[in-house]
């Protein structure tokens, strides 16, 4: 683990720490693009080359960037765009249009947005043009008027590309891709998606117009490279105002374990950043370095089971009901149950085994049962809830056995007879 001890030579510790916090937070919250994307050199080159050709030669292209969530699709694209816009010729020559499938939920909205981003509405004065049809005709007309050598290339960036494929008739995609395949204004259509089967979503004539270029971002980092990355993520940049930081890789076994575990579960950087962010937030003036324990703690926070937390807050009665449900699940092999069954099971326990639990009235038990339903620890199976009496609604338990047992272990002052009951069900005698 990189351990930075910010020794003050020029600056007070507090200021150094706030500097460090700022730099690293920017990094972890994805507010600043990295200097260059890691582990995707070839993809970077491919995309840059493609967009450069669109910008410089006016060649129309279409490309899909496919990769799992958090694999750096947007980061790659933004890096490429940044690099592209640094070129002098290109800078004033391209018109990027950013669309997102989650924002532009249908073609009408998407067209409005494109028109807005291309500043085309100014052309017709402040005339607010009305219908969807006019809008489409307007935009197509605009694109048709352009030609390869004289119009500015337009970069259409479609985030969540798969959602655009669900629009009616895929009109927008057809038209954009058709423009990219005909001698009109040069465009580049760049789609970002995490779905590997995205091409199957496209209609055949839309598919035929797509160039079938796909850039896959699949991280194939080994653990060693992963560690290197963690190190570089945590080290401060060269131009840090105070030169008094050093990083010493700590071969502490526990840290490597934590990271290994994290690596096993997911390779993407977003979850790593989350982990490191938690660790970073524990750095303060009085504790000016990230210690292995911080990372362990952060990992524990990350990995914690959300349901286990809820279980800790339950009353004994509710816990008993859950145990009853667990037994019902065992008996009926996962078939749904209703309140009456749970209540019977609970009563059996009270009569035969219990020494410490009161005999609750039925309304109280119903209340507890409803509370469990509100917490979504149990879920109603019928869609039409209104018709059936509450007591007979079929329910299913949304907890795993292991979760229940774990919760019982950790539950403060759990009566032993309840624990016992959880392990051995009350048998019919």
């Amino acid at each position: 683990m990189s351990k930075r001890k910010v020794k003050e030579t020029h600056m007070p510790v507090g200021e150094c720490i706030s500097q460090v916090q700022m730099i690293l937070r920017e990094r972890f919250c994805h507010q600043r693009l990295p200097e260059k994307p890691v582990g995707m050199e070839s993809q970077h080159k491919h995309l840059l080359e493609l967009l450069r050709r669109t910008a410089v030669h006016g060649e129309s292209n279409s490309v899909l960037i496919v990769g799992p969530r958090g694999s750096g699709k947007t980061m790659l694209l933004n890096c490429v765009l940044r690099e592209l816009l640094e070129v002098k010729d290109v800078n004033k020559n391209v018109l990027p249009v950013h669309l997102n499938g989650l924002l532009q939920t249908d073609d009408r909205i998407a067209l409005k947005e494109i028109t807005r981003q291309l500043n085309l509405e100014n052309v017709v004065g402040d005339k607010v043009f009305g219908s969807f049809a006019e809008n489409l005709a307007f935009l197509l007309e605009a694109l048709k008027k352009g030609d390869r050598s004289s119009s500015r290339p337009v970069l259409f960036i479609l985030d969540e590309f798969d959602l655009f494929a669900h629009h009616k008739n895929q009109t927008l995609l057809y038209n954009l891709l058709d423009v990219s395949q005909s001698a009109q204004a040069p465009v580049a259509v760049i789609g970002l998606t995490c779905r590997l089967d995205v091409l199957e979503l496209l209609e055949k004539r839309v598919k035929s117009r797509f160039s079938h270029r796909q850039i896959h971002l699949l991280s194939s980092l080994s653990f060693i490279q992963y560690l290197d990355n963690v190190r570089s993520q945590l080290s401060l940049p060269q131009d840090f105002p105070d030169t008094n930081f050093y990083d010493e890789w700590n071969d502490d076994q526990s840290v490597v374990d934590v990271l290994q575990r994290h690596y096993n579960s997911s390779k993407d950087f977003r979850s790593l950043h989350l982990l490191l962010m938690l660790a970073l937030s524990r750095v303060s003036a009085s504790k000016p370095a990230i210690k292995p324990t911080d990372l362990l703690e952060a990992s524990r926070v990350c990995m914690v089971d959300s349901k286990a937390n809820i279980l800790h807050g339950l009353s004994i009665l509710e816990l008993c009901l859950i145990i009853a449900m667990k037994h019902l699940n065992d008996i009926y092999e996962g078939e749904p149950f209703n309140f009456q069954m749970v209540h019977n099971e609970f009563k059996k326990f009270l009569q035969r085994k219990s020494h410490s639990i009161h005999n609750f009235d039925k309304p109280v038990v119903i209340k507890a049962f409803e509370h469990l339903q509100q917490l979504e620890l149990i879920k109603s199976m019928d869609s039409s809830t209104a018709k059936i009496q509450k007591e007979y609604q079929l329910m299913k338990l949304l907890l795993d056995h292991s979760q229940i047992m774990e919760a019982l272990q950790k539950y403060p002052q759990c009566p032993t007879d309840v624990k016992q009951w959880a392990i051995v069900p009350v048998l019919e005698t």
Partner: protein, 692 residues
């Protein structure tokens, strides 16, 4: 503006007048001396007689057709009322590509004597408008100087104007106006009544020539006051509004009134000015003549142009890439000679005969359907420019490029006449256009791409498209394109399919030889590919889809790979086998296996758990809960620390997001069912390779 009530808002009554005389014994037709027209419920009767000039109901309310009556005739029963006419053309009716032949900018009121043969000169007498023909000397006087014989403008033979071929005209012969010697348009006026030659005021002429919106002056006036107002209608401000503005003139300073008026038109600024002027102005018509600026009706925007011109291809590979781009228009279309010839003959014969017809063309995407038709049209246009065939209009609509099937009418009408109207109105106007005869009627060739998108429940759009060509005066050739061969049988109801007819053609997917030929012809001597490499691409694509677009895209990608394989771009040689192989791999290989290999350990473990659970259940579906039990067991075997349920769900969701797994909605939590989106064998293969 004066509108000619071409849509029958009121019923007009037509009655023969005078004594009938036998016109043709065999056909039992009778000639008549004059025709009385009256509007139902009104006293006024308009009488037209042969030799008189008339306006005939047309496509455009503002521009009715102009003609001279030659003769009236009808059948015995007096039910059919026909008239023979001599047509006159407005410039807007002259084909676009011939307008330049005039060699000068036309006078907005100029019309041309029609000498062509292509047009039916027998019309239904009931399409004659009862609006009086513009009188000479008024703003709307029409001038004729030249004749048009579908190929060129000629100086009008004065005899033609003098001569009224239909004998026994009760009216006096037409006045003849000698053509003026001035080289610019000093038009000859003509009118239905004998008048002295009106000498057009040169200033008026100049102004009329310079007014951009000719519509403003084109109205056929009735009375001078109204007419003055009608000039102004282009600015969307109706005459009554001006009058009411004048009436409220004194109150116009109050912001409320002004605001209201500003709302009523677009250019608020100019209205205000105008209102002020209105109050001060003594000379009412004089003020109205001012041309007011307004937003152009059909402002088409364009993408801003670039500051630095696009760079031209530098080396052979770049050159090849530019040529291989799907958008580049090739010099010729190889491999579709037969189809080309068939379509060409079909369209040409229809254009020559002045008839109509439908054709249905099917084929999978990327087989050159649209490209072939465009090529046909290009050739036909060329032929018509060479005067080998009559001129025709080509318009194109695409089902995918409209938001609603009914927009088809709007787009067709807009491309034909540049009008913008609603879908229903457009349908009515087109209906009229294709069912009535008109002087200049040239054949319209309509290409309907992606026909299946025009399907509606009642199928009325398709019905109309295929019904119009069967009309006598329509002269419409409809070429339709769709992907499926049996579309007419599958989605069309009988009356639509029947009208579409049996002229069908299907484009087969390209064979590998054809694909190879296409690439070679596109490259056209640019030596960038090895023979074998080309053959590999074309064989591969032909085996998969026969889509030429795909083939071109792969070749393009191969050139890129070739370029990057060497350090220096200019030193890159030919595109070889291995480059093509790489490109093919990139485009056709499934990414699932790579994705599984690159997944994290827990994700791989989860996939194994899914398969294990499927085997246990003997089903291809399991709930997350069941899989998770397996997952725990497996991680124990592997010696990994077991993960919590939340983490497990997160892993499962990640796999679901990239569609390696198919999941139910996540609100079902642990009970959501899990299915594999890849075959079990693929998963096992991928995972096995990882472990080795």
């Amino acid at each position: 503006m004066v509108r000619y009530f071409t849509r029958l808002r009121m019923r007009r009554i037509y009655k023969w007048g005078g004594r009938p005389y036998i016109f043709d014994r065999k056909l039992k037709s009778y000639g008549f001396e004059y025709l009385n027209m009256s509007v139902e419920g009104q006293e006024a009767v308009t009488t037209v007689t042969p030799g008189q000039y008339i306006l005939i109901e047309g496509n455009d309310d503002e521009y009715p057709f102009v003609a001279k009556l030659l003769k009236f005739f009808g059948d015995e029963s007096h039910k059919q009322k026909k008239a023979l006419v001599q047509w006159f053309l407005r410039l807007s009716e002259v084909p676009q590509n011939k307008k330049l032949l005039l060699g000068r900018s036309p006078h907005p009121q100029e019309i041309f004597y029609y000498l062509g043969r292509a047009c039916d000169n027998e019309i239904n007498a009931e399409s004659i408008l009862d609006t009086p023909f513009p009188e000479p000397g008024t703003k709307d006087t029409l001038y004729v100087k030249l004749s048009w014989d579908t190929k060129a403008f000629n100086v009008l033979d004065p005899v033609l104007m003098q001569d009224t071929p239909a004998s026994t005209p009760p009216k006096p012969a037409l006045p003849l106006f000698p053509p003026c010697a001035s080289p610019t348009a000093t038009p000859v006026s003509r009118g239905p009544v004998r008048r002295a030659l009106p000498t057009p005021d040169p200033t008026v002429m100049r102004r009329a020539g310079s007014v951009s919106d000719t519509r403003a002056t084109m109205s056929a006036g009735k009375r001078s006051t109204l007419e003055a107002e009608s000039i102004h209608s282009a600015s969307k401000l109706s005459a009554s509004k001006i009058l009411s503005a004048k009436r409220r003139g004194s109150a116009a300073d109050t912001p409320g009134v002004r605001k209201k008026l500003q709302l009523s038109i677009g250019a608020s600024e100019c209205l205000y000015l105008r209102m002020k002027e209105l109050r001060n102005s003594v000379c009412f018509p004089c003020f109205l003549i001012q041309v007011t600026p307004s937003t152009p009706r059909h402002a088409t925007p364009s993408i801003p142009s670039r500051t630095v011109p696009a760079r031209q291809p530098g080396n052979i590979l770049e050159e090849a890439r530019a040529r291989l781009h799907v958008s580049s228009v090739p010099e010729s279309l190889p491999c579709r000679e037969q189809e080309f010839q068939d379509i060409y003959n079909f369209v040409e014969s229809k254009v020559m005969d002045g008839t109509g017809g439908c054709m249905y063309i099917s084929g999978v995407p990327g087989t050159g359907k649209t490209a072939t038709i465009h090529e046909v049209i290009r050739c036909l246009q060329h032929a018509s420019d060479m005067d080998e065939i009559p001129t025709f209009r080509f318009i194109e609509i695409n089902g995918m490029k409209m938001t609603d099937p009914h927009q088809a009418y709007v787009q067709i009408l807009q491309k034909l006449t540049d009008q913008k109207v609603t879908a229903d109105h457009a349908a009515a106007l087109l209906e009229k256009r294709f069912s009535n005869p008109a002087p200049k009627k040239e054949t319209t060739v309509l290409l309907v791409d992606e026909l299946d998108l025009l399907w509606t429940r009642k199928q009325n759009v398709m019905y109309n498209l295929f019904d119009w060509p069967t009309r006598r005066h329509a002269r419409l050739v409809v070429l339709t394109i769709a992907n499926t061969m049996d579309l007419p049988e599958r989605i069309m109801i009988n009356r639509v399919a029947s009208r579409l007819g049996l002229t069908r053609m299907s484009f087969q997917p390209y064979s590998f030889k054809q694909l190879q030929q296409i690439i070679t012809s596109r490259l056209n001597k640019v030596k960038a590919f090895e023979e074998d490499a080309l053959q590999l691409v074309s064989r591969k694509v032909a085996a998969l889809s026969g889509d030429a677009r795909r083939c071109l895209d792969i070749c393009r990608r191969a050139t890129e790979i070739c370029e990057h394989s060497t350090s220096h771009p200019s030193s890159a040689g030919l595109v070889r086998m291995n480059h093509v192989m790489e490109a093919l791999d990139e485009m056709f290989s499934s990414s699932y296996i790579t994705a599984i290999r690159c997944a994290s350990l827990q994700e791989q473990l989860f996939l194994r758990a899914v398969i294990a659970e499927f085997r246990r259940l003997g089903l291809e579906e399991a709930t997350f809960q069941q899989v998770f039990v397996q997952h725990r067991a497996l991680s124990r075997v592997e010696g990994l620390q077991p993960i919590s349920v939340s983490e497990g769900l997160a892993v499962c969701q990640r796999l679901g997001a990239c569609r390696l797994l198919l999941l139910e909605a996540s609100r079902l939590d642990m009970l959501q069912r899990v299915r594999l989106n890849v075959s079990q064998d693929d998963v096992l293969y991928a995972l096995k390779a990882v472990r080795d």
